[in-house]
């Protein structure tokens, strides 16, 4: 059974063209781009071409792109660089709904004595601009705000944030792992200082990412060693994956507007049908400023892992903010930060689409999911009357 893959915010398939582009570099062209001999050295040009392709998708100059091993490395590098280059500043600002690569790094800095401001979001998952303005002071080393949230798809007003920070001369990093290739970004108009992206979210393989660092930004490397990436990231270049990321960015950049239309139409169809067919279901997150491929729906009175495993029997792949699906016992920090009731968090399911999904697949999901929700509700002891008796546990933040 071919899976119906609706979990593209977790990872995506490698595009066939991308695979074809990288294969020679897993075969005959195995050299080291730093070598003096032609066999290795000729790969330097290919790596630079890929760098230009990656730069183009965000409107950057190729010299502003540093290849990394993943989105998490890019995020860690950005924060660490700020801390290293502004040692006197001991305040870091981020949000309560960041990816763990930023959130846990911020917590790590917090344990080292930094003051960390976690900007809240409202019930729709929208960035709290007032709280952000109040948090600003002269001691800020860096502000890191994600471009779009991976769980809800809500897009944050980073242009506005960037403008405010530019005026005050505060360093700004955005984790754009979920947006590069999905919605247009142009760093020429968007004054961010650093931006993280990841290959496997845009149909390149896992294990490759990049960090954009605006020219003139103070920078300190995270991985220290050889001279690669102009001394900004040590380690022999992952040539096959760099080629792949370049190709993936080229394809995504070329097709971005048609893809947005295609994917958002399928997503809207899926969302509308599920809400119609399943009573007591709700969308989590702002539906206006949202990624075109993502919908996060809570089905009340049922538990997310149970939903995922039952739809998995039909080959449908999605994910959930339920506690049971994570290694931890606490449900999604994103949905909790939004104040989504626990009754709804446990039954939350995220569907995230890609250009490779078809109308027929969406129709099948619309046919299969509602009866499964019904069956699981029949199993559940909870109904509307029971919900009032529920006490919300203490929040962690």
């Amino acid at each position: 059974m071919k899976p119906i893959y609706l979990d593209n915010n977790a990872t995506s398939s490698v595009a066939p063209e991308v695979r074809d582009a990288m294969l020679p570099f897993l075969g005959e062209f195995y050299g080291n781009p730093s070598s003096m001999h032609l066999f290795g050295g000729q790969l330097h040009r290919q790596v630079e071409d890929a760098r230009a392709q990656v730069a183009a998708i965000i409107g950057a100059d190729p010299s502003e792109i540093i290849f990394t091993s993943c989105g998490s490395e890019s995020d860690n590098t950005a924060l660490m660089s700020a801390v290293e280059t502004f040692p006197a500043k001991k305040h870091v600002i981020t949000t309560r709904v960041e990816h763990p690569a930023v959130l846990n790094f911020a917590k790590h800095l917090g344990r080292k004595g930094y003051r960390i401001s976690y900007i809240p979001v409202d019930s729709q998952g929208r960035f709290d601009m007032d709280a952000f303005m109040k948090s600003l002071d002269d001691n800020v080393a860096i502000v890191s705000v994600m471009h779009a949230n991976n769980e809800t798809g809500v897009v944050f007003p980073i242009a506005e944030i960037a403008a405010i920070l530019k005026e005050r001369g505060i360093l700004f990093h955005t984790d754009a792992v979920q947006t590069v290739g999905k919605i247009p970004i142009n760093v020429k108009e968007l004054p961010v200082d650093m931006l993280s992206l990841s290959g496997h979210k845009l149909h390149a393989p896992k294990g490759i990412g990049a960090l954009y660092v605006r020219k003139g930004t103070r920078f300190y490397p995270y991985l220290i060693g050889g001279h690669q990436e102009h001394g900004r990231r040590a380690g022999t270049e992952n040539v096959p994956s760099i080629i792949a990321l370049g190709k993936a960015c080229e394809i995504a950049g070329k097709n971005i507007s048609t893809e947005i239309q295609y994917v958002s139409r399928l997503r809207d169809k899926l969302e509308k049908a599920l809400l119609e067919k399943c009573p007591d279901a709700r969308i989590n997150g702002d539906t206006i400023n949202r990624l075109p491929n993502t919908t996060n729906i809570s089905f009340e009175y049922v538990e997310g892992e149970a939903i995922l495993l039952r739809i998995d029997k039909h080959g449908i792949c999605a994910s959930s903010g339920s506690a049971c699906t994570s290694g931890a016992l606490e449900p999604s920090h994103v949905l909790r930060a939004m104040g989504v009731p626990f009754t709804a968090i446990h039954g939350s399911v995220r569907f995230s689409l890609s250009r490779y999904n078809t109308e027929a697949e969406i129709d099948k999901v619309i046919e299969i999911v509602p009866p499964i929700i019904r069956e699981l509700r029949e199993l559940s002891p909870f109904g509307r009357d029971k919900l009032q008796a529920c006490r919300a546990p203490r929040s962690t933040e």
Binding site: Y301, V302, E303, G304, E305, A306, L309, R310, K313, S322, A323, C324, T325, G327, A328, L329, E330, P331, F342, T343, H346, E378, L379, S380, P381, F382, K386, L387, A389, C390, R391, A392, P393, R394, S395, T396
Partner: protein, 276 residues
């Protein structure tokens, strides 16, 4: 992704005994929707024989919660209340062919629902209704529950307590309290061994040395491809020969020291080990 056994998958996809019993003789409800799992167990009990004639359940929760509930009802049907009361959470997990560590709390939930139902049927005060000291406020777990589950399942670490009861898995604020409970619990168990160095007869000593080597030491060596042979015992000197992989192992000296430490601990303080 959790690694569930086929039995868990089967009872999750095709659960048995789902639903409600009309006019049930006993009902046990545990968990809550905020905690992420909850179980309502209903029993039909023959008043003459005290046997559970029928058991049905409704569960809100993940695959292992649903499968554990179903397993519980299968296990208790036809049993008398006294027999059913002896069922432990481990038996529920065993019936399922095992549960992932992190999901053991699902089996505990089953056992608790049964306990609550029987207690209520017998008119006993249900434990959860007494004023217990709540340790984990995120998941509403009492000190009594932590102690009971720790004792029944021989749990010694906070992580295990979290796996079995969820306590400590939320904000983590109660982790020091759980550590204190575990320390208290197992200290009490370990204290009653103020072994006075009893004078062993030579015969007893030799038998004890042999026993410790066979049961404590050799299996561990064998697991790493090594072995040993007891060559002689002269008073307090134990002479052994390292065998198999131990012969060529550069850590042989460390091994001999370890054996000596174990024998000192379990047999007598004055033991010296020599290898030939």
């Amino acid at each position: 992704m959790w690694e569930y056994t086929d039995k868990v998958k089967d009872l999750f996809l095709n659960p048995k005994n789902v639903g409600e019993i009309e006019n049930p003789d006993a009902v046990g409800e545990v968990g809550s929707i905020t905690c992420g799992d909850a179980l309502k167990l209903m029993l039909k009990i023959d008043r003459e024989t005290g046997k559970i004639q029928d058991a049905k359940f409704q569960t809100f929760g993940c695959a292992s919660a649903i499968a554990s509930s179903s397993a519980l009802t299968e296990l208790i049907k036809g049993k008398t209340l006294d027999e059913a009361r002896k069922i432990t959470n481990q038996e529920i997990a065993d019936y399922l062919g095992g549960l992932p560590d992190e999901k053991m709390h699902c089996s505990v939930m089953g056992q608790e629902a049964l306990e609550a139902a029987i207690a209520r049927y017998k008119g006993e005060q249900v434990v959860a209704e007494t004023h217990e000291k709540i340790v984990c406020k995120c998941f509403n777990v009492s000190e009594e529950k932590i102690r009971r589950v720790a004792m029944e399942n021989h749990l010694t670490t906070v992580e295990e307590i979290t796996n079995f009861t969820k306590a400590g898995g939320g904000c983590g604020g109660c982790v020091p309290d759980i550590e204190a409970i575990l320390k208290d619990l197992w200290a009490v168990k370990e204290v009653p061994k103020p072994k006075e160095p009893k004078k062993l007869t030579n015969l007893q000593k030799i038998a004890l040395i042999q026993d410790v080597l066979e049961r404590e030491i050799r299996p561990k060596l064998q697991a790493d491809g090594g072995d040993l042979e007891l060559l002689d015992i002269e008073g307090s000197k134990v002479v052994i020969g390292l065998r198999a992989m131990c012969v060529s192992c550069p850590m042989g000296g460390v091994t001999v020291q370890g054996i000596e430490a174990k024998l000192k601990e379990l047999v007598s303080e004055d033991i010296v080990v020599e290898s030939r």
